[in-house]
Symmetry: C2
């Protein structure tokens, strides 16, 4: 059975018109689907409003207890429930979940030799039995990037990672297309020219592009993750603009990363 897992980020969430346009195309996608959303600027705005200072280490936000409370509010509350209500209005039977709900995603607090990132969770397991049951009830699942450790602690988890772990976990049951939405048209040969999008890339071509230094350096971690997802059982990974979702899924836009 086909399952589309689509991750959207702040560039969509922060823009009401873009989000509405995306939800129009998303709700029209046929078959089983999961939406994973990240945060966006609202969490920063709420934290500032409440006088919570954002701690940054090496350009990364530290999730202290107060920040965790804000991201739980904003991600699992405001953003998640608004997306769900807007999908329901589009006759898409959405159900919002955090990793704590039904023990959907179990994580542990990140251990790092040098830095305490605070309440940041690295994923341990995905409850595929629950998620399969909900998908078979024809629910479209909408995940906020909040997980839990099974001991009562909520954790802030990267939305890209959640999408990838869901895809990996569900790949034994479903034929998965994993879509990372991106502010560019796909993987570009020239980062400043959207017309240079690579339509299809497998490991051999990827190695060739890397060897010739033809690939934009910032794309390498994203592509490495995409190939890791493929190796873990995911059918295909697609990178491109959220607004072009139907074309991305049909292979007519964006970059499709394939086994070969």
């Amino acid at each position: 059975m086909q399952l589309s897992i689509i991750k959207i980020g702040g560039n969509i969430i922060d823009d009401e018109a873009k989000l509405a346009a995306f939800l129009d195309v998303f709700s029209a996608v046929k078959g089983k689907k999961i939406l994973v959303h990240g945060g966006g600027k609202l969490a920063t705005k709420v934290a500032e409003g409440l006088g919570i200072r954002q701690q940054m280490v090496d350009g990364r936000r530290i999730t202290d207890a107060e920040t965790l409370r804000v991201v739980t509010m904003v991600y699992a509350g405001t953003i998640n429930k608004n997306i769900v209500a807007q999908l329901q209005a589009r006759h898409c039977d959405a159900m919002g979940l955090s990793g704590a709900d039904g023990n959907a995603i179990l994580a542990h607090k990140r251990v790092h030799a040098m830095t305490d990132f605070g309440y940041v969770g690295d994923v341990d397991s995905v409850n595929t039995s629950l998620l399969t049951s909900l998908l078979l009830l024809d629910k479209t699942l909408v995940f906020s990037p909040i997980t839990h450790d099974g001991k009562g602690q909520l954790l802030n988890t990267n939305a890209d990672t959640i999408a990838q772990e869901l895809a990996r976990g569900l790949s034994t049951t479903f034929d998965i297309s994993l879509v990372y939405s991106f502010e560019k048209s796909g993987v570009l040969l020239d980062a400043d020219n959207d017309a240079t999008v690579i339509n299809r890339i497998g490991p051999v071509y990827y190695q060739e592009l890397k060897d010739k230094k033809l690939i934009f350096a910032g794309m390498i971690p994203k592509l490495d993750n995409a190939f890791a997802a493929l190796r873990s059982g995911v059918g295909k990974v697609i990178i491109g603009r959220a607004e072009e979702l139907p074309q991305l899924l049909a292979g007519q836009a964006g970059t499709t990363i394939v086994h070969e």
Copy 2:
């Protein structure tokens, strides 16, 4: 099949130790169960922190757009996900829901001749098919008092009403005990004396107490609602202290309101 629906309010939610003690007894309750939580002081604190002025008309809070955003954050985000994570830690497989999730509770914006209460929702219908499926998957459902209108609008809905509408909707499938947690031991003959709790009350005894003006006036709306729930198919309604939940369900504490 037996189903317990338990509503807790601010007196439990605002007190970390009381909430933990309640979740201990709640998680130990056997069988299918639903928890409905209200708000508490955190929403007011967050609204004040964000500089959102609370409008009150006749002692009732008006839910303007900004207030709706705050209650959605706090109720469906912070409070709901923390309760779910803490139940998971107690090996109770909880799943948090708003009325928008899976179209669980459909409502409409309240129409009132004199006052615009803002984004306040009165319940139209409960998705019993979804809720039955989730309960049969052995999930314990945790409802925040946020509903939607099916057109993309979230709405703030009274938690007592949500508990009652869930009980009414599910009463055709389940044998329901509906518990309203309360800061007193139950329905009291003397409002200042917890030892005067009425253990069991049916319509005839209730009429007798009202006629003799032996019942605390503040309890009359609660009891009228309880009898209305019974008439709509709910098996029994129980009023008492959340901490005594097992005793309440066993009829050994609180007030049980029965058909006769």
